[in-house]
């Protein structure tokens, strides 16, 4: 702090003309800037604590009451809003010169010299003491060093609180992961790496893909090998399993070119037939060889569920193949689960347990869902039962969509094959286009769901091949939706556009839910669709989990850097 003499002597007057009212006011105003910044700093320290407590409170309450929402992101936004609401008015508040003078008078024990001078400068008629007082005050002002008078220093209490806060943050964010995983980001990093690597594989290694499928599905390998072999030599670029809209248009364009060529040249109908055949083979390639097993498993599950009165309706619908209605029945059951009698609960426990055993071989994930329901019903945990039943309904509905899409795809494939064999000579351009359109429609319909097939073996292979990423565990719907693969050109995020619940165990800390929300920018309308490529390029973030922030930054850099480097490599 500056030491300022507390006395004045007329003998020390520097003389007239040095001190002037405008100079004095200007100097006092200049001192005010530092006061303002200091006020903002002090207010920020307090506001930070209010915001932090608000954030923690909202996060805890939100995690308990509404874990499906991006609680941390919302809490962070609210806390940030409160922080700004407390700090911004202080920043915007202009201090009057009188207030500034009072503050410096009090801090430097200037015996109210500055404030009296400021007041007197505006007084009329002029006080006889005006000149001497201004001289005296000016002399003191010249000795003031605002940096020393008001250093940017937080009170000891605030500093202590900040240190405690940092320790708490460390314990909260880092400590839980120190014993087990090297980094708390590992699970999510693996998950995202799997997505990206899956994309990479489908772009670069179609042969390995086919080989992998053959190795994993020898029964279907023969079916796949034939078209793959015929394609591999002639048109390797068409072997890409990622068949996008542009790919289809390209196929269509090739087919049209074939049509045009037919008009001009004889014998080019063979190329058109080859086009149909190729398209049929493409659709065939997207066929899931295990879909029939899943349909059978669902029917067996339905049979077991009919043994319990509450789940009878759902079971009957499953047996009939009415998957949407079965899912709907399960949701209704979830709503009424609190009204179940003890006997009904016992029946349900047994029925779902047996159903889980039935599905274990053909669809382990579905079996896990069923086992979860059985366990929660037995434990009388109604809320968890409700949630598990809803998830089971979602899983069944999803499988139903896959099965239906597969059936449509098979129909289209048959039509295409029929078109290639029976109408080879007289195929009209309109018929060909109609077939292509239907094939495209079938593809799009199937593309809404996981075209890679729900085969557990395929999923495992994809993830392992991608990054050695997350284990096959989990078995939750979100994980399935989130899984990429060489034959999964598009993914669907169901029910919650732009929000995906990632794999288990990604919770940012002990206090956060196990399923941390992973936000992926999407089109914004339900159901959100985006391709694996989109997912790979999207900035995937976890709302509010602070320790993900550095990772997010790295993610941005990596993506844009990669994009730039790729562009440079491809440049001539």
């Amino acid at each position: 702090m500056a030491t300022v003499s507390n006395t004045a002597s007329t003998a020390e007057y520097p003389g007239p003309g040095i001190a002037s009212a405008p100079n004095f006011v200007h100097q006092i105003t200049r001192f005010g800037r530092r006061l303002r910044l200091l006020a903002v700093l002090l207010r920020s320290a307090r506001a930070l604590w209010v915001a932090a407590l608000l954030y923690v409170g909202l996060s805890l309450v939100g995690s308990l009451l509404a874990p499906q929402f991006p609680v941390f992101a919302i809490s962070l936004l609210l806390a940030l809003g409160v922080f700004l609401a407390l700090v911004v008015p202080t920043f915007l508040r202009r201090l009057s010169t009188l207030d500034i003078a009072k503050a410096y008078d009090a801090r430097l024990a200037l015996s109210e010299r500055l404030a009296t001078t400021i007041e007197m400068l505006g007084q009329t008629p002029e006080n006889p003491f005006r000149a001497v007082l201004l001289e005296d005050a000016w002399r003191h002002v010249q000795e003031i060093r605002p940096r020393q008078v008001f250093p940017f220093r937080l009170p000891q209490r605030d500093v202590l609180l900040l240190v405690l806060g940092l320790v708490a943050l460390f314990l909260w964010e880092v400590f839980p992961y120190m014993a087990g995983q090297l980094t708390p980001l590992a699970p999510l990093a693996h998950q995202v790496a799997a997505v990206r690597e899956g994309t990479l594989i489908e772009r670069t290694s179609p042969d390995a893909l086919v080989a992998g499928e053959e190795a994993l599905s020898p029964a279907d390998g023969k079916e796949l090998a034939e078209p793959e072999a015929s394609q591999g030599a002639a048109q390797p670029e068409q072997n890409q399993p990622l068949l996008t809209q542009s790919d289809l248009n390209e196929q269509q364009a090739q087919a049209q070119q074939g049509q045009e060529g037919e008009e001009g040249q004889a014998g080019e109908g063979g190329e058109e037939q080859a086009g149909f055949s190729d398209l049929a083979q493409q659709l065939e390639a997207y066929r899931n060889p295990h879909i029939n097993e899943q349909a059978t498993a669902l029917a067996e599950v339905g049979r077991e569920l009919t043994q319990a009165r509450p789940s009878r309706e759902a079971g009957q619908n499953l047996e009939r193949g009415n998957y949407e209605q079965a899912a709907q029945a399960l949701e209704e059951l979830a709503r009424d689960v609190r009204d179940l009698s003890r006997e009904d609960r016992n029946d349900m426990t047994d029925a779902f347990a047996k159903a889980a055993e039935r599905a274990q071989q053909s669809d382990p994930r579905l079996a896990q869902e069923l086992a979860d329901v059985s366990r929660e019903v037995a434990s009388y945990n109604d809320r968890a039962t409700e949630r598990e039943l809803q998830e089971l309904g979602d899983a069944i509905e999803e499988r139903g969509q896959r099965i239906r899409a597969q059936q449509q795809s098979e129909q289209q494939s048959e039509q295409l094959r029929a078109g290639a064999g029976g109408e080879e000579a007289g195929a009209q351009q309109g018929d060909a286009q109609q077939l292509m359109a239907r094939a495209q429609q079938a593809f799009n319909t199937s593309g809404v769901t996981e075209q890679s097939g729900p085969s557990q073996q395929q999923d495992n292979w994809q993830l392992q091949a991608g990054s050695g990423g997350p284990s096959q565990g989990g078995g939750n719907r979100e994980e399935e939706s989130f899984q990429p693969g060489p034959q999964a050109p598009r993914l669907q995020i169901e029910q919650k556009p732009s929000v995906v619940l990632a794999d288990r165990g990604i919770g940012p800390s002990l206090w956060s839910p196990q399923r941390a929300p992973v936000a992926i920018p999407g089109p914004g309308s339900a159901p959100a669709q985006f391709g694996v490529t989109d997912a790979g390029n999207a900035i995937i973030s976890t709302g509010g989990a602070s320790h993900f922030v550095p990772w997010m930054v790295a993610d941005y850099v990596q993506k844009y850097f990669n994009a730039l480097s790729n562009a440079m490599e491809q440049a001539p």
Binding site: A103, S111, T116, N127, L133, D136
Partner: protein
């Protein structure tokens, strides 16, 4: 004098006050606070009431002050049989050389610039009232004639807190006429040694006159021109308001122990006293410290405490201490 530049007038003030202190110091040992407070009263144009046990130099101080200031000095020893006319003066029948008789007003000792009312509480209330009326009005009415008191007019009264037998304590309303009530404390050992040394030899200290009536009047004008910031003025007013037990700003101690608070004259005295003190401190504005420094002598005789205060031994100074601590200045920190 007014037309002189302010710097010169301030310099004149400092020189005079320093000289007065120096001359008084030749006779009065120690008691610097008492001397300063007496000077504050003089320069602010108020009257002082000095209270202390006998032998502390109260009378000597006033007498020396009269000699130093070159003012007409008068002394009245208050006794129970003292009549008002003994103070104000009276009309007497006089004969001229032609044996013509006529009434002539013979002014009393109050018609001096500096009046020492020694042991004022020993006179009857009637006599006290005569003096106190003159202090306030600065005029004396004798018969049908109104007589102006000289300017400057400065009364210094002394009273003895002990020997209450046969005394007439001053009424509160009349106490309010005194600018300050100054408590004269015992000198410390070193001062006492010096007093004994000075007064037991054949050396009689001589003081010189350093200020005239004109000087005193000029300084009184200068004092009133000292500026005071609005927030300092507010602080003085808040201090006085806080002595009123019916005021919403009154602290608990006021509500508990004060029957009547200080009058508006108390606020005026705080500010005027603060102005003189600021000049003494070679400053050109009144500060919070100036107000605090004169709070006790300004307010102690203006507070009327209740029975509970007397029973619990709470004095006016205790209340003022609490007020000064409780009432915080209005500053932006």
């Amino acid at each position: 004098m007014i037309s002189r530049p302010t710097e010169e007038r301030i310099e004149h003030f400092h020189l005079l006050s320093r000289d007065i202190r120096t001359e008084l110091g030749k006779v009065i040992v120690g008691q610097q606070a008492v001397v300063d407070n007496v000077l504050i009263c003089l320069l602010a144009g108020g009257h002082a009431l000095l209270e202390g046990v006998p032998g502390l130099g109260k009378t000597e101080l006033v007498k020396t002050l009269g000699e130093v200031l070159d003012l007409r000095y008068g002394r009245v020893q208050f006794t129970p049989d003292l009549m008002p006319a003994d103070i104000t003066g009276t009309t007497v029948i006089t004969e001229d050389q032609k044996d013509n008789r006529f009434f002539r007003f013979e002014p009393g000792p109050i018609f001096n610039n500096l009046v020492l009312a020694d042991e004022i509480n020993r006179a009857t209330p009637k006599t006290q009232s005569a003096l106190l009326e003159a202090m306030h009005e600065r005029t004396v009415t004798v018969g049908n004639s109104l007589h102006d008191l000289p300017i400057p007019f400065f009364v210094m009264a002394t009273q003895n807190p002990i020997e209450m037998e046969g005394t007439y304590p001053l009424p509160e309303a009349q106490l309010d006429r005194f600018f300050f009530k100054i408590i004269v404390e015992y000198p410390d050992a070193a001062e006492l040694e010096e007093i004994v040394l000075r007064t037991t030899t054949d050396v009689v200290p001589e003081v010189r006159k350093v200020a005239t009536t004109k000087d005193i009047l000029a300084l009184q004008v200068l004092v009133r021109q000292v500026p005071i910031a609005s927030h300092v003025l507010r602080y003085a007013v808040r201090l006085v308001t806080a002595t009123d037990p019916d005021s919403p700003e009154a602290p608990q101690i006021t509500r508990n122990y004060v029957r009547y608070g200080a009058s508006p004259r108390g606020a005026q005295t705080l500010v005027l006293g603060g102005k003189v003190r600021a000049l003494f401190d070679e400053r050109y504005n009144v500060s919070f410290d100036d107000i605090r420094a004169v709070a006790h002598q300004t307010l102690r005789h203006r507070l009327i405490l209740n029975f509970e205060a007397e029973a619990e031994g709470i004095t006016a100074d205790t209340v003022i201490d609490e007020l000064v601590m409780t009432i915080s200045p209005d500053t932006e920190e």
